[in-house]
């Protein structure tokens, strides 16, 4: 059959964000973030000291932007040096790096990098949990996770009295 009509519209806007985290030889962690959208391209690299999760160095640049002036804002990033990833980091970054005297793009990228680093810590643990070879073993893994984890109410899996908890008798 010959196609006579294509229900396709050119996108008005696209955005790609890539964030990653890895260990460094000096024992610290490096987070990398790249944002590429219709109006802007930006890159960020930050090194975090362990176990404090403190930002010890940060570099970034706005490579392409709709307003040329955005490219001159990289100094703002240095305000993040010394910040520790933990409770209150979102507000601190949004107020210190973002806002009327800052750059919201860099603020979001720092938070994305922090998230990548935190998620990095969970991957190995999740890998062990999810590699259970039987339903029974997997059930035990989930039970241990729910019992040992204090994040009650942090998402649907940790809601008090949900189906999973009832089934596993947690």
């Amino acid at each position: 059959m010959v196609q006579s009509f294509v229900d396709n519209r050119i996108l008005s806007y696209t955005k790609n964000i890539h964030a990653g985290a890895e260990n460094l030889d000096n024992g610290n962690t490096l987070a990398r973030v790249r944002v590429d959208d219709t109006f802007l391209t930006a890159e960020l690299k930050m090194e975090l000291e362990l176990p404090d999760l403190k930002i010890v160095s940060i570099q970034g640049s706005i490579i392409r932007s709709f307003a040329e002036e955005c490219k001159n804002n990289t100094e703002i990033l240095q305000r993040a040096v010394g910040m520790r990833v933990g409770s209150g980091i979102t507000r601190m970054v949004k107020e210190t790096i973002g806002g009327p005297k800052g750059c919201n793009v860099f603020a979001d990228m720092i938070l994305e990098g922090c998230n990548a680093m935190i998620m990095g810590f969970t991957v190995d643990e999740l890998d062990k949990q999810l590699s259970a070879e039987s339903d029974e073993a997997f059930g035990q893994v989930l039970k241990d996770m729910l019992e040992d984890n204090p994040r009650v109410g942090s998402c649907i899996a940790f809601v008090e009295g949900n189906e999973l908890r009832r089934r596993l008798g947690v």
């Binding site: 996108l11 008005s12 790609n16 964000i17 002036e69 991957v123 999740l126 999810l130 649907i156």
Partner: protein, 162 residues
Amino acid sequence: MFEFTRSKCIGVEKREDGIFLVHGFLDDHVYTIELDLEVKTPEFTIVSAKGFMKRYTTPECPKAPSILDDTVGLEIGSTDFEMKIKKLVGRGGCRHLADLFIECCNSVFPAVMQTHWKTARANGTTQDDFLKELINNEPKIKDRCITYSRDGNLAKRLGVSW
């Protein structure tokens, strides 16, 4: 080896009736999540939200997108919008789904701006004239960051003040 990567891709298209369709995709070492939003302009209200957890960690995770129905009617950019979504979609469902949801919502305003810029450019408007018009007519952009601040170099270069 400590290693983690996350990619988020957002695409926004404009339908003829002024509704913006947003498709978001999140893929990382742990999760794969898809999201489809419809946002009505100029009100910036969510008219539909559908999500799909494709790769996840617990049997409860696939139920998280059912919470998205509760976001219908919310206005993007309203006071504490992000906080509301983090609570409603994040705590009530999945915080990674909420992360993608916020990212998708934040893409609607630039998509609207891009459609205006496309029309303006076709009519011969320069980039600086477009920026000037944007600053003069769009309250959301004024003082939202150092570039668009009243004391910034952009305002000086364009000769705009408020």
